[in-house]
């Protein structure tokens, strides 16, 4: 094709386009858009002209290119002019707004995360740091270092999954090994919590699960005593369940704490009157705690005459059950999205 032919074609396209747009009646958006596609679209007449440029020499191409661009700009402004006329005339459309809204695709946190975060926030405000530890543990960290005697009935509460019993490798039965691991690394004072999965050879029923989550806390400093243990944990429970709950400390036994205590709070379901959740006692057990046993300190190289501390541990699922009124521990691992979304 020659330059002249293309110039002619540019002229023809221009005239035809201008003629056509002038016949489009005001307000006919559909026709106007069709016109735009025909001339200015990806496969429109103007683009065809650009495509044909490849047949020309570069000098010619420049000349024709300028003309085509001029045409394009002319048609664009014609389009814009027509469109603005239409828009100024167009009546605002009335929409039936009564139909239901379209819910966005949103995610939701698992209740274990929600409860863990709530607990973490309370303790972080009191200067506790969050640390982690392994789920595959050794007998030493899970039992021995925590003053849990080998082959004694006090070990019976932790029915253990072994992955190599001869080598004494197991799945941790509680988060307490993290206490030992952190104390081995960090010298006092310290304030930590740790959250994680724990494993016990319990058969699955409404209140037992072979896998569950625990949160463990530890505070060690000079002069830490039992009244501080009561202070921190009472504060925690009131932050978590409201400051009208009553908190009760009673003696208990854990090999790694002495004195040891069990903490219960007034039942938030029956408000202390007595119901099936609290076995008609008006109180529900929330956590176990105590002053760190001096033997645990000796095991990690802390001097029990210089430092004292307290430790506590609680089941996350149990707290979620109390807080949200969940009726069965199995819901946590069933992952029914209808259930998970309720808590967000």
């Amino acid at each position: 094709m020659k330059l002249e032919e293309i110039k002619k074609k540019i002229k023809e396209v221009g005239e035809k386009a201008v003629k056509e747009i002038s016949t489009i009646s005001e307000g006919d958006t559909e026709k106007l858009e069709r016109w735009k596609v025909k001339y200015l679209g990806r496969k429109g007449a103007v683009n065809d002209l650009f495509t044909s440029l490849s047949l020309l020499s570069s000098e010619e191409r420049k000349e024709a290119g300028i003309q085509i661009n001029a045409l394009k700009n002319k048609l664009i402004s014609a389009y814009e002019e027509n469109k603005s006329k239409i828009e100024s005339k167009r009546e605002e459309k009335k929409v039936n707004l009564s139909f239901p809204g379209k819910p966005p695709e949103t995610g939701a946190f698992h209740p274990i995360t929600l409860i863990s975060r709530e607990i973490t926030t309370i303790f972080i405000k009191m200067g506790f740091g969050v640390v982690t530890g392994p789920e595959i543990e050794t007998d030493y960290y899970n039992f021995g270092a925590l003053n849990i005697p080998d082959e004694h009935p006090s070990k019976d509460v932790w029915d253990t999954f072994y992955i190599a019993e001869k080598e004494k490798i197991l799945l941790r039965t509680h988060t307490s090994p993290v206490q030992v691991r952190i104390m081995e690394k960090v010298s006092p004072p310290l304030r930590i919590i740790t959250i994680g999965k724990c494993f016990r050879r319990d058969d699955i029923d409404a209140t037992h699960s072979p896998v569950f989550h625990q949160i463990e806390g530890l505070m060690v400093d000079r002069g830490i005593n039992f009244s501080h243990l009561k202070g921190i944990l009472t504060h925690f429970i009131m932050e978590m369940f409201g400051n009208t709950v009553k908190v009760k400390f009673t003696p208990s036994f854990f090999p790694f704490t002495e004195p040891s205590a069990e903490v219960s709070m007034s039942c938030n379901i029956c408000k202390g009157i007595g119901c099936s959740t609290c076995h008609n006692t008006g109180y529900i057990e929330v956590l176990g705690c105590g002053m760190v046993h001096p033997q645990v300190f000796r095991n990690v190289g802390y001097n029990p005459d210089e430092f004292t501390g307290f430790a506590f541990g609680m089941g996350i699922e149990r707290l979620a059950i109390i807080k949200f009124g969940i009726t069965d521990i199995r819901y946590f691992f069933q992952n029914d999205t209808r259930v998970i979304k309720q808590f967000n």
Binding site: H110, V130, Y162, I163, E165, S227, P255, P259, S260
Partner: protein, 666 residues
């Protein structure tokens, strides 16, 4: 065991109401629960801590509550007359296994059904009444805490010996079961045969029957660990073994013997013989030192010295005071008291936990810092939620079948699982997630996105490893590229650079899998779930896309510190292009080809791929926009046309891409 209010009061020299009793036990943390209540008595159970074996007896409970009331313990009568001279010699093979063993003959006993008086007591304590001799031994165990065994003397040959069983030996115990024994089990034998499993259960061959004329009473101290191992070995726990495992004191052992001999002489009208014994006859009491400062500093309250002295005296401790320091010895049955903190616990138990004040510690406000990965993990969770994923949490214990998917790692098996479907540690989060998807679809939730953060576990050489993973699955929501876009968006928000997707084989997307690399390191995969696996999980009708990522590298390289960049001052020019390529073209090649031109390209945006019948075979049309923008000037139309031509030419030369059309706005 069960406890009876009435029986307990018999050992108290003073008055206590049932409510008081239960209240004191509650204060002490023994959580009484009443199992039977009538006009006459209250029967209850207690939660006895594993270190307080002495509470497994009526006398133990009495000793525990008398400090609360102004009363003392009434020890039952223990003296009787020896009217026989018969003796059975005792041998102990290993004093470590058995520190002390005693036995005593009672001749001419009348063995019969127990009379009402003892029968009532035995039944209140939760035992079934049987022959009087048997009931006496059970009653004394519940009363004093000492497990006893009574042999038919005429079935015991010559002597009794405490020894380990030998491999291959067996014994039929009184419950009628044949027990296979070995060296881990301690037994009682006579000159010819084994007659009992020490501390656990007696043998049928020496059992007391209605025809028994003469009996041999055994009262001993067996090593708690040996009894426990034996009990585990033969799979039998008894009231006796539970008490031995918690430890028995020499005093309890002797009291138990005397009491049993007395009751057997009286109730069965027998003639008791002299004591035959072997082993350590006396044990020194531990000596513990503490001072009031320790008590007050650990409890956080001021406790009066008189209170401590009075309490410990009532608890039968021996107390001396030397230069302001208490030197005390607990009574022999209190093997839970080992050091000063045990005494502090005892003091505040009786002082009552409720009376200890509630204080917040006064300490340096310097917080302990968290592990950095903890915070990053939580932020990753936040991003996942914002991207529309719902969090799921699985046990991580799964079936062999589910771990077999990942053949590239060797899975870890639990040696003592509770069931086959929880026998292995997961090697990937995906299989459990697919089970959850099946569950949700079954319950009518059809379109959703889930994610999980959790560990996977595997064996590497001789070590066990755990590794944190992040997995996403989309179920019937959008297409593969929606998921890919979300994963890319996560990387973007974690400011991760140098992410590459490469077509590689994967486990879950057999045909359609991209490996994901971060700085050249494989960090995971993204895939279209293969039909085979879909079928396996009964999810054939679903569109499922997934991705599994290793968190360690992601956490290490993530950054939440935004870097400010001046927004561009000059306007962009967009050009749209459509090319026909061979269908195997990789997007990355197109992008890299354009970027290699070193034009002022701000970004390249893919927007369409399609095929129509008029196109040559094995080709697709790919459309994308290129945004040109200079940081130093406004680009002229001519500039942009020139750039576009370069793009068109290079794509043709390097990738054989045929231009279908181009255009755009400037």
């Amino acid at each position: 065991m069960r406890y009876s209010y009435r029986l307990i009061t018999e050992y108290i020299d003073g008055a206590i109401s049932s409510n008081e009793l239960l209240n004191y036990l509650e204060i002490l943390g023994l959580n009484p629960s009443v199992v039977d209540k009538n006009n006459d008595d209250i029967i209850f159970e207690l939660e006895i801590p594993a270190n307080r074996g002495y509470l497994l007896s009526l006398l133990g409970i009495v000793r525990e509550v008398v400090p609360f009331i102004n009363a003392s313990v009434k020890i039952p009568p223990l003296t009787f007359e020896e009217t026989s001279t018969k003796i059975v010699p005792v041998k102990i093979e290993d004093k470590n296994d058995c520190a002390y063993y005693s036995c005593r003959v009672v001749e001419n006993v009348s063995v019969e059904k127990t009379e009402t008086f003892l029968k009532n007591r035995i039944e209140k304590l939760g035992y079934r009444s049987s022959l009087n001799v048997v009931d006496i031994s059970n009653y004394v165990m519940a009363e004093i805490g000492q497990p006893l065994h009574i042999f038919d003397l005429d079935k015991v040959e010559q002597y009794v010996e405490v020894r380990r069983a030998r491999k291959g030996e067996t014994l039929v115990t009184i419950d009628g079961k044949k027990r296979d024994l070995d060296e881990s089990v301690m037994v009682i034998a006579d000159s010819k045969k084994i007659i009992a499993i020490a501390g656990i259960m007696g043998g049928q061959n020496s059992e007391v029957t209605a025809d028994t004329k003469n009996v041999l009473i055994e009262s001993a101290i067996f090593n708690p660990v040996v009894v426990r191992r034996g009990s585990k070995k033969i799979g039998l726990t008894t009231e006796a073994s539970a008490r031995f495992e918690r430890g028995i004191s020499i005093d309890t052992c002797k009291t138990g013997m005397a009491r049993t001999a007395l009751l057997t002489s009286n109730i069965c009208k027998g003639n008791a013989g002299p004591l035959s014994e072997s082993g350590v006859k006396e044990e020194p009491l531990p000596v513990i030192k503490f001072n009031m400062a320790k008590v007050n500093n650990l409890s956080g309250t001021e406790i009066k010295e008189e209170f401590v002295i009075d309490l410990l005296t009532r608890l039968n401790f021996q107390i001396k005071k030397e230069n302001g320091t208490f030197v005390v010895s607990p009574p022999s049955y209190r093997n839970d008291i080992k050091e000063d903190v045990d005494i502090v616990e005892e003091i505040i138990r009786y002082r009552q936990y409720e009376t200890i004040p509630v204080y917040l510690p006064v300490t340096s406000i310097k917080p302990t810092t968290s592990s950095p990965e903890v915070e990053i993990m939580e932020r990753i969770k936040d991003i996942c939620i914002q991207l529309g994923f719902t969090e799921v949490v699985h046990m991580g214990l799964t079936s062999k079948e589910n771990t077999d998917f990942s053949k590239d790692t060797s899975s870890i098996e639990i040696e003592n699982p509770i069931s086959a479907n929880l026998q292995f540690l997961r090697t990937s989060l995906i299989p459990e997630m697919l089970e959850t998807i099946k569950f949700n679809i079954y319950h009518g939730t059809r379109n959703f996105n889930i994610f999980e953060i959790g560990n996977v576990y595997y064996r590497e050489d001789d070590t066990f490893k755990e590794e944190a993973m992040l997995s996403f699955i989309s179920i019937n929501t959008g297409n593969f590229f929606n998921l890919k876009g979300k994963v890319e968006s996560l990387f973007d928000r974690l400011h991760l650079k140098n992410i590459e997707f490469k077509k590689e084989n994967g486990i879950f997307g057999k045909k359609n899998n991209l490996a994901i690399y971060l700085n050249g390191l494989l960090i995971g995969n993204i895939f279209i779930l293969s039909d085979e696996i879909k079928e396996h999980f009964d999810l054939k009708k679903c569109e499922i896309y997934g991705s599994e990522l290793k968190l360690k590298e992601i956490v290490e390289k993530s950054s939440f510190l935004p870097v400010f960049r001046e927004p561009p001052r000059y306007p962009p020019s967009r050009r749209d292009f459509s090319f026909i390529f061979h269908e195997d073209i990789e997007w990355q090649e197109i992008e890299n080809t354009i970027l290699s031109l070193e034009l002022p390209v701000e970004k390249i945006e893919f927007f369409d791929v399609y095929r129509t019948d008029d196109m040559p075979e094995n080709t697709v049309s790919i459309s994308f926009s290129v945004f040109f923008r200079s940081t130093t000037e406004t680009l002229s139309k001519e500039d942009v046309i020139g750039f576009s031509e370069k793009v068109i030419k290079t794509i043709y030369q390097k990738l054989k891409g045929q231009l279908r059309g181009s255009g755009g706005e400037t």
